[in-house]
Symmetry: C2
Subunit: 372 residues, 2 copies
C-alpha cells in the first residue's frame, strides 16, 4: 500500500503556514485572549443591517449561492462607478491573490514584492513555483519606484503593493501610484491590495479607469465592513482580465449568508462612517498608551498602529511575548528594521484599557530579560 | 498599456464554467423557478439547531475563523471514529477537489474518471494541466474495475469515483470498493466522492482504516445536512496526506458562521434521519410521477432520481427544456446513453405537485417537436 505521489514543485513546498490563528495560541496557553488586537479585525463589528440580513438568510442556506454573484457585483459596480464585468468576487483577498498567482505565474516566473509585506501573497507565489524578488522598505514605506525598477529588471509578471501598507500602516497617495503605473513595464500587472483603503485619507486610491489593464485592485469586506469571518473579497479590473479568472476559480465557492451580509453592509454608509470614526479614536488611544510608555507610533491609514518599541527585533518580540502572556493578542512585522515595531489593531476603549494595563509590564519584563 | 501575460497552460483553458446557476437562468427567463430541483440541494433544509447556531454567530463575523478548524474537526473525528489529523475541512467538495488536483497532478499527469461523471472534477484536472482518461458507465453504474484497469494502464495519479454516483444515483457496495482498492496500482489515489453517502443504504461506504493511504474520502454538509450555501466539505484520509494540503490550501478560507452551523448540524442526528426519510418519500414521489407518465426511474441511493425519458438525449433535452419553461429547475446527464435521463432532486410534496403538473406537458411538447 503506497500513498500519493507529489509533483516536484509540491514536494518542494514547506508545510509551514502563513499565520497561526489566535485560537491555536489560546489552546496552547490554556486560556482565552482578553483583547483580540492581532489580526486587524474590526472589533466594532459589522453593520446591524448586515447582521440582520445574515440572520434572515440562515434558513436559506440549503441553496447554493449564485455562482455569478450578480446582486453583489451590481451593487459594487454602482458603488465604484464601473460595470459588474469589472468585478470578481471571491473567498477573501487571500483566496483572490491565490487565483491571481495561479492565473499569471508559471514555474520560474518573477514576482516582486516588499521584504516584510503580506506573507500570504508570498505563500501563493512560492506555491505556484514563482520566484520572489523582495525590495526593502524605505522609511517604513513600501518603495514604489524600487519595486517597479526591480519588476523591469527581472521581467516580473506581478508587482504586489499594499496601499495602505500592512504591517506598517503607512501609505502612498493615489496620485503617486497612478504616476508609478506609467513606469510599470509592459506585461506586468500591479496587484494593488487596498484591504484597508476605507480607513485611509481621501485620495489614497488612484483615480483610474476600471478598464486599465495594468492594475488589479483587491478589496475586502473583512476590514472596514467588519466581516473578516465571512470571506468576501473582490477584485476590480479590466473586464477581460476579470473574465480570465473564470477559467480557474471555484465557481461555487461563496457562502450565501456572507453574500447577503455584504450586500447589506455595503448599503449602510452611516455605520461605515461610524466605524471609521471609532477606528480613528482607537488609533489615537494606542498612540496615547504608547506615548505614556515612552514609545512612538507610526502614522497609520489603516485600522492598526505600528508601535515602535525603540530597540531591535529581539526586544519587540519580547514585548510581544509579554503582551500575549497577559492575554493581549497582537502580531508584529517579520523583517528588520520593521520588526522593531509591534502591530496593534484599533480596539474599543475596553480593549485599550487591557492594553494600557499590560504594556508597561511587558516592556519592563523585556527590559529586564534583554538588558545586559 | 498592455495587460497581463498568461502562462501557456492558462492561455489554453476554455472560459466555460462547469455549471450555470439557476439564478442566471431565472434572469434570462425573466421569472423565478417555481420548483428548485436541479442542483440536488436539500429542500428540507438544515437542522433548526444549525439555523439557530448560524444566527447566533452572525454578530461574531468580525473575527476570522480558526484556520485549523479545531472544533469541527474534533466533532467529525468523533463522528467518524478517527483523529482530527485525518480530517481536512475546506470550501465544499468543489474546492477540496481543486486542492487535491493541485496537490497531485503535474502537467501531463494522467487522471481517470467516468465519462459523464462530475464535471467540476474534470474542470480542475484540465485547469492544472492533467490528462483525463474517461471510462464509460456500464449499466448506468461507474465501472469500478475498468476505472482501475485504466489507472494501471496510464499510470494515473488519481482515480475519481462518486459513490453513490452523480448524476445517475446508482451505487456500489462498500465491500466492492474495498476489494477494488486492493487492485489499485501503487502511487494512485482513489478520490472517493461520498457527497450523497448519508442517503445510501448501510454498507455503501467501505470499512477502511482512516490511515489507509490509498483513498481520500470527500464528504459535505451540502447535501444531507442541507447546507449547500455554506460551503463546507471535508476530506478523510491518512494524516500525512491530509497534512500535505496545508502546503497549498487557503488557510483562512472558511466562513465562521458556516463552521458554527456545521457543528450544530452534525449534532442533530434526529433531523438528519428525518431528512433521509423525507428524501426517500421525495424519491418515491418522483418515481410515481414518472410512472404516471409512462416513464421508468433508476434506483437511487442519493437525494435525486434519474428519470429515463425512454428515448435519446435530444428527446430528454427537449423534456428538460419543457420543464424549465414551466418553471421547474432540473438538470440532466451530459453524455450518452445516460443523457436519455433527466435528473430530478427529491422535493417536498409542493415541489412534486408542480413537477406532476409540468411533466406531461413537457413530454407532450417534446414528442410533438421531435416526432417525424
Amino acid at each position: 500500500m503506497t500513498g500519493p505521489r507529489y509533483p516536484a514543485l509540491i514536494a518542494s513546498l514547506p508545510s509551514t503556514v502563513p499565520f497561526v490563528g489566535p485560537e491555536l495560541q489560546e489552546r496552547a496557553r490554556g486560556m482565552r485572549f482578553q483583547a483580540r488586537l492581532g489580526a486587524n479585525e474590526n472589533v466594532f463589528g459589522p453593520s446591524p443591517f448586515a447582521v440582520a440580513a445574515m440572520q434572515d438568510e440562515a434558513a436559506e442556506i440549503w441553496k447554493y449561492a449564485d455562482p455569478s454573484h450578480l446582486d453583489l457585483k451590481a451593487a459594487l459596480a454602482d458603488h465604484l462607478r464601473c460595470t459588474p464585468q469589472n468585478i470578481l468576487i471571491g473567498e477573501g483577498i487571500d483566496g483572490l491573490l491565490g487565483y491571481l498567482v495561479r492565473l499569471l505565474v508559471g514555474q520560474g516566473d518573477a514576482v516582486v514584492t516588499s521584504d516584510g509585506a503580506y506573507p500570504t501573497f508570498n505563500y501563493h507565489v512560492t506555491g505556484f513555483g514563482g520566484v520572489l524578488h523582495k525590495i526593502p522598505y524605505t522609511g517604513d514605506h513600501e518603495d514604489l519606484s524600487a519595486l517597479i525598477a526591480k519588476a523591469a529588471e527581472v521581467d516580473a509578471k506581478i508587482v504586489y503593493l499594499a496601499n495602505p501598507d500592512n504591517p506598517m500602516g503607512t501609505w502612498h497617495s493615489g496620485a503617486a501610484i497612478a504616476a508609478a503605473l506609467d513606469t510599470l513595464p509592459d506585461g506586468c500587472v500591479l496587484a494593488l491590495d487596498e484591504a484597508y483603503v476605507e480607513f485611509a485619507p481621501e485620495g489614497t486610491t488612484p483615480d483610474l479607469d476600471a478598464e486599465d489593464p495594468r492594475v488589479l485592485r483587491f478589496r475586502t469586506f473583512s476590514k472596514a465592513y467588519g466581516m473578516a469571518g465571512a470571506r468576501i473579497g473582490y477584485v476590480v479590473g479590466a473586464a477581460e482580465t476579470i473574465k480570465a479568472f473564470d477559467r480557474i476559480r471555484n465557481h461555487f465557492g461563496m457562502n450565501r449568508i456572507a453574500l447577503a451580509g455584504a450586500l447589506a453592509a455595503l448599503g449602510d454608509t452611516e455605520w461605515l462612517n461610524e466605524v471609521i470614526r471609532l477606528t480613528a479614536e482607537g488609533r489615537d488611544g494606542i498612540a496615547r498608551i504608547a506615548k505614556d510608555n515612552g514609545l512612538t507610533t507610526l502614522p497609520s491609514a489603516t485600522n492598526f498602529v505600528a508601535v515602535d518599541c525603540g530597540r531591535d527585533g529581539d526586544f519587540a518580540r519580547a514585548v510581544l511575548a509579554g503582551l500575549i502572556d497577559q492575554g493581549v493578542f497582537v502580531r508584529m512585522p517579520f523583517v528588520a528594521p520593521q520588526d522593531r515595531c509591534i502591530r496593534i489593531s484599533a480596539g474599543r476603549p475596553e480593549d485599550l484599557e487591557i492594553l494600557a494595563e499590560a504594556l508597561p509590564k511587558a516592556l519592563l519584563a523585556a527590559r529586564i530579560t534583554l538588558n545586559p
